[in-house]
């Protein structure tokens, strides 16, 4: 545990000192949010039933949150550690090797919280409100950050397997379709039937839906929240397992 905290502190310092590695990942979702609002606001005014009296920006905020925290930053940092020989130094140290992954994920949690707060602030500036109040805001931030942690495993696993920056960066290609094969612009029931089928089996849909219900409804919808938490937990378990497995076989 001590090792994980030490490595997480190092990773957080790295994030802080290399804003260029995080800011673009934040810029793109915020840019999408602003552009989408500009284009769709008039089509979906606040009187649109699925907006429940909210601005369209409120409907889009969960998408931007998920978009912003789903980054390959930790994977890219891992490739850098491999390239500069720092990972070798860590692997030669008498530590639990899993701490190398847990440390990165802990830093992802911190980064996720900060990024989620910034995205929410932008949403608030554009008129969005979280109907479920302060508990909803806290849940939005925590769940978004946890999704970021869950998702980070894929880039870390690819980094350890490929040892290559370009391949690791391309892990984003896995996420990009998943983000858009969801009810991201309109609710699930308004999607065309084939897309609706895909969206139903896409785990990202359940994360977006859980977060969206926190924004749109004054009371917590335990069903969608539970599905969101379960999706994050399952995704996190699978992808973290993949990254730990990649680390264990790294020197083979």
């Amino acid at each position: 545990m001590n090792e994980t905290i030490l490595l997480a502190r190092r990773a957080v310092r790295e994030v802080w000192r290399l804003p260029a590695a995080t800011l673009p990942a934040l810029f793109i979702p915020v840019f999408f949010l602003v552009v989408n609002i500009g284009q769709v606001n008039k089509i979906f005014p606040s009187s649109t039933p699925f907006l429940h009296g909210q601005h369209y920006v409120a409907f889009q905020i969960p998408v931007s949150l998920v978009f912003a925290v789903s980054s390959a930053t930790s994977g890219l940092a891992m490739v850098t550690d491999i390239d500069i020989g720092y990972l070798d130094k860590m692997l030669a140290a008498p530590i639990q090797r899993t701490a190398l992954v847990w440390g990165r994920l802990a830093a992802d949690l911190v980064r996720g919280v900060v990024v989620a707060i910034l995205v929410l602030a932008v949403g608030f500036a554009f008129g969005a409100r979280v109907k479920s109040g302060v508990p909803g805001v806290v849940l939005l931030i925590v769940l978004a950050a946890l999704w970021g942690v869950a998702y980070a495993g894929i880039a870390i696993a690819i980094a350890l397997k490929s040892k290559n920056v370009q391949t690791t960066n391309a892990s984003f290609l896995i996420f990009f379709p998943l983000l858009f094969l969801t009810p991201n612009f309109v609710p699930l029931e308004l999607l065309a039937p084939p897309l609706r089928v895909v969206a139903r089996i896409n785990p990202v849909s359940y994360v977006i839906q859980g977060l969206r219900d926190l924004v749109l409804y004054p009371t917590i919808h335990w069903g969608s929240l539970g599905a969101c938490v379960l999706t994050i937990a399952l995704t996190g378990t699978v992808l973290t397992w993949l990254s730990l497995r990649a680390l264990n076989t790294f020197t083979d």
Binding site: I84, L87, D88
Partner: protein
Amino acid sequence: MTDETVLAIDARGLVKTFKGSRGQPDVPAVAGIDLSVERGEVFGFLGPNGAGKTTTVRMLCTLLPITAGTATVAGVDVQAHPGHVRRLIGVALQEVGLDPTQTGRELLELQCGLYRVPNPKLRAEELLGLVGLSEAADRTIKGYSGGMKRRLDLATALVHEPSVLFLDEPTTGLDPASRITIWDEVRRINAAGTTVFLTTQYLEEADQLCDRLAIIDGGQIVSSGTPDALKAELGSDAVTIGLDASDRDNARHALGSLNGLDHITESEDGLAVYVDDGASVVAPIVQLLAAAQIHPNMISLARPTLDDVFLAATGRRIEGQSTETNAEVGE
């Protein structure tokens, strides 16, 4: 691990074979080497690029699985107890393993924490002073020079006062002044009781630092011993004679009757004549050549170097000079 009779490093039949990719044959990087490194010595592993030095170090440091053979470091089996071995060794690999976004102090304190050193801040401060980086301690490593990075890397390998220190080409790419600083550090570390296993492709480095060394080429140890013993094994002084290419065959023939001649090899500038006592044969060489109407443009006398040892063991110069055309005459 205080048993003084236990070897610092003991490897038997160590093999590393890398799987060939996409139908290519497997690549034997280390082909069954034996190593016995005594406690407290500086042991050199000398060889050209691709000889198998780094692969050997990585196996001994638990960073690469061993294909076949056995190895113990500080008496602990590398394959059976890698975690235990990691507590006993310090490692500074060829690639300087430093995070450029951290300061020197942060990196050392982190390293102390990972090795559970009791007072990380104090130990980091101590090590920074030791490697002359106190003033740069709070600057990010990104701005350090190559020599500073090497010294810091060395410090990170020392946080827990390891029993055995592995240094993989510690001075490659450094300027001469930085190289001498690292040498001084290695001597100081060794004087404090740490066994040092050092790989290098620099002959002078091996000569300057190592109590004993092994020469590795093509994944096999081709010679080993103290630098002096290895040179003495050649048993000859080398008299280098600068000659035009057209005179070389005649000169070799003319010198065949030289007293105390061991052997003659062709060198880049002419001939290298190996004799028992170089000082006593310079005059006879000049006379024999003059009698054969050959006029050398240079004659120099030198004791055998490790490069000569390497040449004798492998048929090649370590710096990659081709000696395929070398022909030997004499006894």
